[in-house]
């Protein structure tokens, strides 16, 4: 501890802290541009100069470590003169074009210039101008405004994990730019807009559409991954104009993934459903709510009485609110059916009775920063859960001495694709999906050989497995580490043998004393599971049908869809559309897709995220409530209200006045469920190989995860989205098939044939092909995993 004096007041501070940190904590204002609490100190802007007694010159507060007894003046004549001079220099080349700058009104340069600048410039010479360049669909650039603080450069290196922005040139010729005509590809790129203190980097989708002072800020919870990042909606009238992060150190810190930041564009998609519609003799008719809901209720009741309750089913998207899910399942169970689910991305749920109620994190994001050894299983962690990847990255980099030296970290991966990560991997096992089980079994076997005890049935099954060097090294690393963790992702969850993967992962975690984290699940997977949107019955043998079976069973005659587009969201979308046409389908959705118009019988327009109140439970089991930031357009209504009326028409008699009353019931349910033990799983059943042939890897496209994101125009224009249109083959595979990049290829799965463009991708192992799920191709092809036939 040290005590220092700032502007005549004494403060206690930790040794090693920078002056600016102590001043910030004490609320003493010091102007700054390059300093950012989450980035390394570069001390290049000099705006934070202060007077320190006995120092010959003013010192930068951001880069001056405190010393016991230090006396600092932030507003003395010397300090003010230094600050004013730096401000004058910074404005010399700045265009001062605030009236046409999107940053105007929320600009750090403007704010500081008010306090430290002069009212007129003494600079009569010619200002320098820097051409702006197109760096992609998300960030607009006006580089003449750049003050070279290098925050965006440091953000790339330190947080984004890829250095994309740089500062070539020297002195007056320095320019902040990307290499040649490269765009920004980071999945966290939008944060550069936030860190840029001036209007050099601004949001492209938001550009010129509103002024900061016209916007109202409302709180919300991000709807596209299970972290539950906290967000601000910036709203004008009844329109969400943009989204920015709300800081929450426990979850998203001050960051936000691009998906959560730009998905709001989906709210204003052209195919928003604005009025209730019913199909009469094959023709869609707009109608009023009462007629539409009555038609829905009558049909459900009729199916129930003629075909039996078990022919009714309901499916909700994984980012429906808990309240919506709760009412949906209540309604369906009132009708006598347990056929309800939200796990559209899973096909193997055979272990659901013995698995944890929901797949969440086993540790806090903060604790992940101390991981010494991590094993990633079936996950494109960097893309599917960018801010968890960031925590892990911090853990590894600490080890490499790049941030500090506290921690030793090794990361391993068992993946069907050799993903480009932004953290160093110690080792990896990359193989086709049919090998996933044996790769994991090898690791478990290695743990067993080094003394861990495993159950007899599992031991029996893995007895014949050979352990290779990498598997042994992974086992040793996990076992030796003080803090070891497993990350089981979306590719594992959608694997046809997920329950065996879960069993192996759980046993590896137990045997190596590791924490098990499930990542890449939907935003409210936990909340919906708790709310009962699962086919679990009173006993295992009375369980209802799971999502995949609901969509494929000929017995389902009446189906309620909530927020869902099975034609893209399902595990096997190609199979479902014809099937849906045979059933009576009520679609409660913000959108009317062409496919939905084809298969649905009643369309009920619901509010999308941002337009409804409710709550989500994130992967940590934290319930986060939110209210609507804007009203849903036209006749669209929050789904919980729609379901309330439907339930009543079906004789359920519920009368919630607001969603908070439902939330209160859910809180009790969550309390009863208690803490979820992630280390639950059935014991291993088999190590059966999947069918051989060219295996499809059906990763869900980063920007194809749900109906809102799929309609977010700017995200759809990114490289990450564009990649999803092609079929990706390894160079060797392409050579075998004699196809080249860009060429079209006939792709056949489950008897469906389509033509796709070839992309050569060295991440794909020989014997496999990557065809993204959630895409147009996915709708026409087959399941996420399976065997493909390819011909030129």
């Amino acid at each position: 501890m040290a005590s220092i004096e700032i502007d005549g007041k004494i403060f206690e501070a930790e040794n090693g802290q920078m002056l600016i940190e102590v001043a910030d904590a004490a609320g003493i204002p010091i102007p700054r541009f390059c300093y950012h609490e989450k980035l390394s100190v570069s001390a290049n802007c000099r705006m934070c100069l202060v007077e320190v007694e006995n120092a010959p010159k003013p010192l930068p507060a951001c880069a001056t470590p405190i010393m016991d007894g230090m006396k600092v003046h932030t507003r003395s004549d010397l300090a003010r003169e230094a600050q004013n001079s730096v401000m004058e220099f910074l404005l010399i080349n700045h265009p001062l074009d605030c009236p046409i700058c999107d940053q105007g009104g929320e600009c750090e340069l403007q704010d500081v210039a008010i306090g430290y600048g002069q009212d007129a410039s003494r600079f009569a010479e010619i200002k320098r101008a820097v051409p702006s360049k197109d760096i992609g669909p998300l960030i607009a650039t006006d580089m003449t405004r750049c003050i070279h603080c290098t925050r965006c450069v440091r953000f790339g290196v330190e947080i984004g994990g890829v250095k994309e922005m740089g500062a070539p040139g020297r002195g007056e010729h320095t320019k902040i730019t990307t290499f040649l005509d490269a765009g920004i590809s980071s999945e966290l790129s939008g944060n550069m807009i936030d860190v840029c203190p001036v209007g050099a980097l601004t949001s492209k989708p938001f550009r010129f559409s509103a002024r900061a002072w016209e916007l109202t800020q409302r709180d919300g919870i991000a709807a596209h991954d299970s972290l539950g990042a906290n967000i601000h909606y910036h709203v004008r009238g009844q329109q969400v104009m943009r989204v920015s992060p709300k800081s929450n150190e426990d979850l998203n810190e001050v960051w936000l993934s691009d998906r959560d930041r730009f998905s709001y564009q989906g709210l204003s998609a052209e195919d928003r459903l604005l009025k209730p519609q019913i199909k009469v003799d094959g023709q869609w008719q707009e109608t009023d709510w009462q007629t539409a809901l009555q038609a829905a209720a009558d049909n459900l009741q009729q199916i129930q009485s003629t075909e039996g309750a078990s022919s009714l089913a309901a499916l909700a998207s994984g980012n429906s609110t808990s309240e919506e899910g709760y009412l949906l399942q209540k309604t369906l169970r009132h009708l006598g059916s347990d056929n309800i689910d939200h796990r559209l991305n899973q096909i193997d749920v055979s272990d659901q009775a013995s698995a944890p109620l929901y797949a969440g994190f086993g540790q806090s994001p903060e604790a992940m920063e101390n991981i010494n050894s991590a094993l990633i299983i079936g996950s494109n962690l960097r893309k599917e859960q960018a801010l968890i990847n960031h925590r892990l990255r911090k853990a590894v980099l600490k080890d490499r001495g790049l941030i500090s030296e506290e921690c030793i970290g090794d990361v391993w991966a068992v993946n069907p694709l050799d993903y480009e990560l932004n953290l160093p991997l110690k080792g990896k096992l990359i193989s086709t999906p049919d090998q996933t089980l044996s790769d994991l079994a090898g690791i478990l076997k290695a743990l067993q050989e080094s003394g861990a005890s495993i159950d007899a049935q599992t031991a029996d099954i893995i007895a014949s497995v050979d352990v290779n060097e990498t598997q042994k090294a992974i086992a040793e690393s996990l076992q030796a580490a003080e803090n070891s963790s497993l990350f089981v992702g979306q590719l594992a969850a959608s694997h046809p043998q997920f329950s065996q993967i879960r069993s192996l992962a759980t046993q590896i975690a137990k045997a190596s004393n590791s924490v098990l984290n499930y990542v890449g699940f939907s935003a409210n997977h936990a909340g919906l599971s708790l709310a009962g949107v699962l086919p679990l019955g009173q006993a295992v043998d009375t369980a209802g049908l799971d999502a995949n079976n609901i969509l494929n069973s000929a017995d389902i005659k009446g189906l309620v869809l909530l927020n869902l587009e099975p034609e893209q969201d399902a595990w096997n979308s190609a199979a479902v559309v014809d099937k849906l046409k045979q059933s009576f389908v009520i679609s409660i959705s913000p959108y009317a897709s062409d496919a939905a118009k084809d298969y649905a019988d009643v369309l009920l327009p619901s509010a999308a995220f941002a337009e409804t109140s409710g709550s989500y439970v994130n992967a940590l089991g934290q319930q986060q409530s939110f209210s609507a930031a804007v009203k849903a357009p036209a006749d669209a209504r929050p789904a919980w209200k729609i379901l309330r009326v439907l339930a009543n028409l079906l004789g359920l008699n519920i009368d919630y006045d607001n969603s908070a009353q439902i939330t209160a019931e859910l809180v009790d349910i969550a309390k009863q469920a208690g803490d979820i033990d992630n280390l639950q799983a059935a014991s291993l059943n088999n190590l059966e190989m999947l069918k051989s042939g060219i295996q499809r890897i059906g990763e869900r496209g980063l920007y194809h995860v749900d109906s809102v994101v799929r309609r977010a125009r700017a995200l759809q224009a990114t490289e990450d989205a564009r990649l999803c249109e092609a079929i990706h083959l390894s160079p060797a595979q392409a050579q075998d098939l004699q196809v080249f990049a860009g060429q079209s290829l006939k792709v056949k799965q489950d008897g469906n044939e389509i033509t796709m463009q070839v992309m050569i991708n060295a991440q794909v192992p020989q014997g496999a092909a990557l065809v993204y799920a959630g895409t147009a191709a996915h709708s026409q092809l087959g399941g996420c995993y399976g065997v493909l036939e390819l011909s030129a």
């Binding site: 994309e164 922005m165 740089g166 070539p168 290499f179 040649l180």
Partner: protein
Amino acid sequence: MSLSPEVTAKIDHWISKYPPERKQSAVMGALAAVQDDNGGWLTPELIDEVAKYLEMPAISVQEVATFYGMYEHKPVGKYKIGICTNISCLLCGSDDVVSHLEKKLDIKMGETSEDQRFTLKEVECLGACGGAPMFQINRDYYENLTLDKIDTILDELD
């Protein structure tokens, strides 16, 4: 395009001077080797190749290549004359050196003569202030310049 074996051998020589995980430290030597091999200047493609070879972001290599005056980004003449115009040389008459050379070679600073023999370039202090005014032709320093001496130096070049 990829780097020739001769060039990669030179880069490897630089890499070997640093710890294995600090390959990037060889970037300046690597750029110099590549530039020499390419007739005295660098292209964006070559910068990218160096980046790949040293496993660093291309933009970082570009930062280095555009920060230091000895890297060229367009073709230069056989003799690149880097005239120091920084403080000591300025005080000792580098202005005269510049105008003499501009007149004699009939090119301006930053230009290359039509016969591709000479390029004139303004450089910052080359650490030879004791011999100001001075210039550098390719790798060699010439100090205590006078106009006569300059003529002799140029005449002696082939």
